[in-house]
């Protein structure tokens, strides 16, 4: 843990929003209401793929209590332009069609129309009165099927990008991406051992417990207010502005507390509809998704296929590596293909790398970001194949990774050369851990895997205000999804040299602070933290000016230390230090309020690396996996609030365990989702798990004043292969298709067991 270098950083203080969140006082998305509000509901497609021949809303409009109905006709057409959205990119032409279908419905659950009524019951009744005439088309769900010639084509205009010469016919392959370093074929010739495997993964959902919710109030003068549960209220503002043609400054979005997002709340579904319903009805409109709607029609993470080929020397040195990935984008192009490709071999210093990726549309909901988008899928393939290699070489899996580990100076396949990183330190921490030094319990097997995430910087704004009594408010604009208020306040208290309890962090709406990019990419503590630190420094600069004025000296002759202004040296004169409260009390005489501001585009987000170890056993009769022990090690830069850093690591690991063992979107022959609920979409529950030991490694990021690296994304990357590798070593079968659910495992065990002699 932190070394005593700091007073506040590295301490486990109570979070500022703690009392609100343990008493039910905190207001989440569905907890906002306005007098006279209407309730909005959405009509969704029952078909996976169909032409919309007509939509008749007349009967719904006539139902007493219905105040507005909207269809795609109420949203202006959008250009074919790609804009950033969270960690992903979206095309405006596509996103308006994702929000309300136009020519076709492209997945079961695709919204077609929405109504606002005085009660929820009337709204539901009205939705059922909308008549839609469909021409049902053949559909395609599976990514491999969708890539085949002759597959039903979702978009007649979709010509594969990244292929030369450009194809002349539309297909479901939106993009091909090539990413190389050195010469893979030449490298492979030097190999003494070659291993190759193919893998699949299924679509999984972020599984945030709070469904999407919004409350919109459009006034007669054109101003719009929105309350929304989102990872980025500035993104909500931007999308509503673009999609409805409203000037950005006319829209004010206040973020509610957010009940989980994990990337899934970086895009918009309800907000533009709610605003349009509010404009048409003249009343505030509240919309909340059901859990079923969340599963069917928000953005899960893609499933896909991964093929990995590794060539190595007998001593374990990897000389050539190839990865081919095809990801489901869902109904519209835009899977996290880039990150999936770029992260695939980012943990390793390999001279010859070839990565090819395909972004493929099919009749599924359009994917959204999910914690380290794309990375767990390629890591599942790469880290599993590394385990095959380790077994064939008879090498310890940590030693194999240490032999090939990326370090400072390693050039990545996607371009950048690493600065100071902590992968070797993380591997060594695992090797030295009590867990790794102790063999698994009898009957249990051990799996190891690593993971990487770039981490993100981007745009942040912050302000710091000294109140009249000398206490401080720190204002930023990123929804606090897991304790970031605490980490921001800790950095502000450290910088200012005052008690943590004197610093109150708040999250401002879009009209009260400058632009902030989404809470995502593990960027808030790094980038918004940097903005907060800079705003405090700006405030300190002003505090020194005020002290100088009080003393009648030059501002350069004042220093700020331990929360007080002091003369820089004895030559300045004999002055008693001035505290924040003293300077605040006289602020009116020295120049007015004392504030600081900062805005930046943060560069130098330090990449993060994780290494996970799991001991488990497989019940050979039921196919159930029992996890006995789990250690997740990660280089976090500096743990600003160690408890929340551990929490990110533990939570990410468990989401990865769910992905590995049980979670999957299951479609039936009609292209409809069969498990759109928490009973059948089986996320980990408390009784599935042991404690998750978070092993925090601190290799400070040289590009942040306190050494911060993002933490949240890395921990979901290793678990898929860590679990798979342990299963392989447990039952001696290399499972290549996720999830490793009981039916799949017991079928594999049965298939591998010699049939009993006919008795």
């Amino acid at each position: 843990m932190s070394t005593g270098k700091y007073k506040w950083i590295g301490t486990r203080v109570d979070r500022p929003d703690g009392a609100d969140k343990v008493t039910g006082r905190a207001r989440f998305g569905a907890d906002f209401n306005m007098p006279g509000q209407l309730i909005g509901r959405v009509l969704r497609s029952p078909h996976a793929h169909a032409i919309i021949k007509s939509v008749d809303t007349s009967a719904a409009e006539k139902l007493p209590g219905v105040k507005a109905v909207v269809t795609a006709k109420d949203l202006p057409e959008q250009p074919n332009v790609i804009v950033p959205a969270g960690e992903m990119q979206v095309n405006l032409r596509d996103i308006t069609r994702n929000i309300l279908a136009r020519e076709k419905v492209l997945f079961e659950g695709h919204p077609i129309a929405a109504v606002a009524a005085t009660t929820d019951a009337i709204a539901k009744q009205a939705v059922e009165l909308i008549k839609v005439e469909y021409e049902v088309l053949p559909h395609v769900i599976d990514v491999t099927e969708a890539m085949k010639p002759g597959a039903p084509v979702l978009h007649d205009h979709l010509i594969t990008e990244g292929v030369k010469p450009a194809p002349t016919k539309a297909s479901n392959i939106a993009k091909r991406m090539d990413n190389t370093k050195g010469d893979f074929e030449a490298g492979l010739k030097q190999a003494e051992i070659v291993v190759e495997r193919e893998y699949t993964t299924q679509a999984v959902h972020q599984g945030y417990i709070e469904p999407h919710a919004t409350l919109a109030s459009a006034a007669e003068d054109g101003q719009v207010q929105l309350w929304s549960t989102t990872q980025g209220h500035f993104q909500v503002r931007g999308f509503v502005s673009r999609l409805l043609g409203i000037e950005t400054s006319q829209i004010r979005v206040t973020p509610s507390e957010i009940g989980g997002g994990f990337g899934g709340k970086t895009v918009v579904y309800l907000e533009p509809i709610a605003v349009r319903l509010s404009q048409k009805s003249g009343k505030p409109v509240k919309m909340v998704m059901t859990r079923e709607e969340v599963f069917r029609a928000s953005g899960p993470a893609p499933g896909g296929t991964v093929r990995v080929k590794l060539g190595a020397k007998k001593d374990g040195t990897i000389v050539a590596a190839e990865c081919e990935i095809a990801l489901q984008a869902g109904a519209f192009p835009g899977s996290p293909l880039g990150p999936a490709c770029w992260t695939s071999f980012a943990c390793y210093d390999i001279p010859n790398i070839k990565v090819v990726g395909f972004d493929v549309v099919s009749n599924r909901p359009k994917v959204a970001a999910y914690r380290a988008p794309g990375a767990p899928i390629s890591a599942w393939g790469v880290e599993s194949t590394l385990d095959v290699l380790a077994l064939e070489l008879g090498m310890d899996p940590i030693d194999l990774r240490l032999k090939n580990a990326a370090k400072k100076g390693t050039k990545t396949s996607y371009g950048p050369t690493f600065d100071t990183i902590g992968f070797v330190e993380t591997l060594e921490a695992v090797k030295k851990s009590a867990h790794y030094k102790t063999p698994p319990k009898p009957g249990y097997a051990r799996g190891v895997a690593a993971g990487f995430w770039f981490n993100v910087g981007a745009d942040s704004s912050a302000a710091s205000h000294v109140a009249e009594d000398g206490t401080v408010t720190v204002i930023s604009g990123n929804p606090d999804i897991g304790g970031s208020r605490a980490s921001l306040a800790l950095m502000a208290a450290e910088e200012l040299g005052v008690d943590y309890s004197k610093v109150r962090p708040i999250i401002a709406d879009t009209s009260s602070i400058g632009f902030n990019f989404v809470t995502g990419g593990s960027r808030v503590t790094f980038a918004t933290g940097l903005a907060v630190v800079n705003s405090v420094r700006d405030m300190i600069r002003e505090l020194k000016v005020r002290a100088a004025k009080t003393w009648g000296v030059d501002p350069d002759a004042v220093i700020w230390e331990d929360g007080v202004a002091k003369p820089a040296g004895s030559n300045v004169g004999e002055f008693e230090p001035l505290t924040l409260s003293q300077l605040a009390a006289t602020a009116g005489k020295t120049g007015g309020p004392i504030n600081g501001h900062a805005q930046l585009n943060a560069q130098g987000a330090g990449p993060g690396f994780g290494v996970h170890v799991v001991d488990l056993k497989v019940d050979r009769d039921t196919g159930c996996v029992h996890i006995d022990r789990y250690t997740a090690a990660q280089d976090v830069g500096t743990a600003i609030h160690p408890s929340y850093v551990e929490g990110q690591i533990q939570g990410g690991a468990v989401q990865g365990i769910g992905w590995a063992l049980n979670e999957e979107y299951i479609y039936n022959a009609k292209g409809r989702l069969d498990n759109a609920g928490f009973l059948d979409y089986r996320m980990p529950v408390a009784s599935d798990l042991p404690m998750i030991d978070a092993l925090v490694v601190e290799v400070p990021n040289p590009h942040h004043p306190y050494g911060v690296r993002g933490v949240g994304e890395v921990p979901i990357v290793p678990p898929l292969a860590a679990v798979g590798n342990a299963v392989a070593r447990s039952i001696n079968i290399r499972m290549t298709d996720l999830p490793l659910s009981p039916p799949r495992l017991s079928a594999a065990i049965d298939a591998a067991t010699p049939k009993m002699a006919a008795e």
């Binding site: 008493t23 039910g24 907890d31 408390a686």
Partner: protein, 160 residues
């Protein structure tokens, strides 16, 4: 359909409300009574975010019809703190960082309190199975389980 008039007790307060016969207790708590501490994560009894107690029994408010509250005693997350004093579980959850986003926290606290009232010496396995009906997607449960075990230990210490 005519509304039903229900007389009940919520967090110790005598309470009356009018509801539709098919309305869930969760909807009445949140929409009619303004007690939005209980959350709806699924509406099907799978996530536990709406956990309340009915005459001391842990139930999902989304699966309970509001008229069933007649003559009963209901406790919600809003009733856990007494005056300006947080319950030991509430304090420990903040101290141990047993919440990240906080959406599951009200339900987890109601469920954990119900457990400790029955059994102040639970094993880790007992805590894990008791809370298996409360989904948390942020924490991986580690810090939640530790917080509940620690409060149980404190309670036993105080009882000696």
């Amino acid at each position: 359909m005519a509304k039903m008039h229900i007389t009940t007790t919520i967090n110790g307060e005598p309470t009356e409300f009018l509801c539709d016969p098919q309305q869930s207790m969760l909807d009445v708590l949140r929409d009619n009574l303004g007690l939005t501490g209980s959350k709806e994560g699924c509406g099907s009894g799978d996530c536990g975010a709406c956990s309340i107690t009915l005459d001391g029994r842990l139930v999902c408010a989304c699966l309970m019809l509001a008229p069933e509250a007649e003559g009963k005693k209901i406790e919600t997350v809003e009733g856990i703190a007494k005056g300006d004093q947080l319950h030991p579980l509430q304090k420990k959850f903040v101290e141990f960082a047993a919440l990240q986003c906080g959406i599951c926290t009200p339900g987890v606290l109601v469920a954990a309190k119900a457990l400790l009232e029955k059994n102040n010496n639970p094993t880790e396995t007992e805590v894990r199975f008791w809370l298996a009906g409360n989904l948390c997607r942020c924490t991986g449960y580690d810090k939640i389980i530790r917080a509940v075990m620690d409060v149980a230990a404190d309670m036993r210490g105080a009882a000696r």
